[in-house]
Amino acid sequence: MSNESQTLLRPVDLINQGLGRRRAAERRFRVYGMLAILLALIFLALLFVSIVSKGYTAFWQTELSLEVTFDPAQLDVADSGDPQQVMAANYGAVLKSAIRDLFPDVQGRGERRQLYSLISDGADDVLRKRLLADPGLLGQTVRLWVPAGSDIDMVMKGHIDRTLPESERQITDQQLAWMDTLLQQQRLQQHFNWNFLTTGDSRSPERAGIWGAVVGSFMTLAVTMLLSFPLGVAAAIYLEEFAPKNRLTGIIEVNINNLAAVPSIVFGLLGLAVFINFFGLPRSAPLVGGLVLTLMTLPTVIIASRAALKSVPPSIREAALGVGASPLQTVTNHVLPLAMPGMLTGMIIGMARALGETAPLLMIGMVAFIVDVPKGVFDPATALPVQIFLWADSPEMGFTERTSAAIIVLLAFLLSMNALAVILRRRFERRW
């Protein structure tokens, strides 16, 4: 400073005086940052732990081993070569007599009903499949593992507390006693629940699978992807590389940015009004779901694609234009290949969002009980998040763990999509 007296104290000394305080502030600031990230990650971990701990048991299923006699009389099947007959056969009777054989002294309707409920309603599927595959089984006796009833399954997994008074649990003392006998005979075991991953929905929690929902989601996403990727990329290229700066393109730009933030439920309203009520497309169809999600993800895809195009340095365009390439040749030959990884990443992120979307699908009737795995985009279908929503609303106790298990499956898909995006980004990250 111009003031002479102050030169006695060099500014450095003055600076050093305040240094302690500043260092402390620095440390505090850093800690806030770390805390913020930690908090977010803790929440993430909490979310995952709570879901996985609730859901992992659904991947195992208690099964019961029975000696089943494919008695033609009981089954009401004359010719096991005729699939029609085999499909419609009365497997319940066979199963009932099989379990009666294990506990021959059970008498009376009430007791027997209790006994039958040790077997799942879906056990007949197992028999049907066996007989269809091997018609020669008719008349023979085989030892089979069939799914146990939901209550038994719940007790085995510890979801039903055996110590509660009988009136407060779904399973009777008598059933518990049978269960223990079966356990002793090693007729009761937990096996990996392939069924959960390979079948459609069911009203019996122990038979319910998510394959139907997975296929539904897959079809919906396929429609979404087939439409939104080409549309999105074309729109992005137009806006980024060709569009003159005029009113129309200005409006389009604002529109796209705005649509990206429009609540998804509003897209549901749109889908209901346009695709179902106006165009008369079928309710609950993956096609309609895909169309709605296309409109929803399109802005995301366009924005990501534009960012990818922007990141291609102008020098590449200049180079191509400079040797006399037309704008379209410049784009297709040079810009697009360089922007493609970025566009794919954007696409994956858009798809991930679409995969987890529920609200718009509620509006277009994809909340339905659908057992058959859809075979085409016009067949009625649900999607994974909707299946979660549905199961969460089911009274049966067994669905609680299924809900969490379905969430695990959905998260697994999402995580792998995210991971793919990250890998793509890493792999092709380019610095000019």
């Binding site: 020098s315 400079g322 040797v323 037309s326």
Partner: protein
């Protein structure tokens, strides 16, 4: 213009913005009449008249922001790619006004090639970098012909020996100087008539710079070359005629030697003698 023969130091005053020196040549390759360029409301080039002769290197010098690049980019309509840039005036390339709206810029840019300040090879193989132009313009019918074009272009750019064993390696893997020569090879592969170079050496090391300068000298045998440079030394070394720009005006144009040894405009003199820049 002024009285030049007797009193060599009779320089033209700073305030005068008419062009000093002879702007025209006989039988020009490019003739520019009254070129004005506007970026929105910024008047970046102000009524410039200038000829580019055949088989000559024309250097453009001037302080930063004076409009050298802008002017250069008029000559192959690269300014079209900039929003809000407006170019008026006539630019005659062999009698065709290439500044008219009707002209298709694609063949034009093949005729008037451009090399940029920063080497910008495509992130593709060396071979594809060079073959791209001939391919889109249909200059070769077969792969063999293309191979030939690639080789001859690389040879003329003095790069063949250095890259002939790795034509399929990416062009971005070359050193800066090599990349710039690759860009030149890419440009001459489409057999242009004029080559525009915008500070082609400013990102290069001395040795690479020397190579490029040699190359320019050779290319002059066949092409007309306009080169923008910041380095007066470079202008002196490679060009036959030099144009000095100042704030959008073409201040002086003349034979290079004379510009550097005996500038006639005060602004040129100030610049040459390092009073600024």
């Amino acid at each position: 213009m002024m009285d030049r023969s007797a009193a060599p130091r009779a320089t033209v005053d700073r305030e005068v913005r008419r062009t000093v020196g002879e702007v025209r040549v006989e039988n020009p390759r490019i003739r520019c009449n009254d070129i004005n360029v506007y970026y929105g409301s910024v008047h970046a080039i102000k009524g410039v008249n200038l000829d580019v002769g055949r088989n000559e290197v024309l250097a453009m010098i001037g302080p930063s922001g004076c409009g050298k690049s802008t002017f250069l980019r008029c000559l192959n309509r690269m300014n079209d790619t900039i929003d809000g840039c407006r170019v008026t005036g006539d630019i005659l390339l062999d009698e065709n006004n290439i500044n008219s709206r009707e002209i298709d810029v694609v063949p034009l840019r093949a005729q008037v090639g451009m090399v940029f300040q920063k080497p910008n090879p495509f992130p593709k193989s060396i071979w594809e970098n060079v073959a791209f132009g001939p391919r889109i313009h249909g200059l070769a019918r077969s792969r063999a012909q293309l191979d030939e074009v690639v080789e001859s272009s690389l040879r003329r750019a003095g790069l063949w020996d250095e890259v002939k064993d790795r034509l399929d390696k990416p062009g971005t893997g070359l050193s800066g100087g090599q990349q710039q020569r690759l860009c030149i090879a890419r440009t001459i592969a489409v057999q242009p008539e004029v080559i525009l170079m915008d500070e082609p050496c400013s990102a290069l090391d001395p040795i690479s710079t020397a190579k490029i300068e040699e190359l320019i000298d050779e290319l002059r045998q066949q092409f007309s070359i306009c080169i923008v440079t910041h380095s007066m030394q470079q202008a002196a070394r490679v060009s036959q005629r030099t144009a000095y720009f100042h704030l959008g005006d073409l201040i002086e144009l003349g034979v290079t030697e004379q510009i550097f040894t005996n500038p006639q405009h005060k602004l040129t003199e100030d610049y040459i003698t390092g009073r600024f820049g």
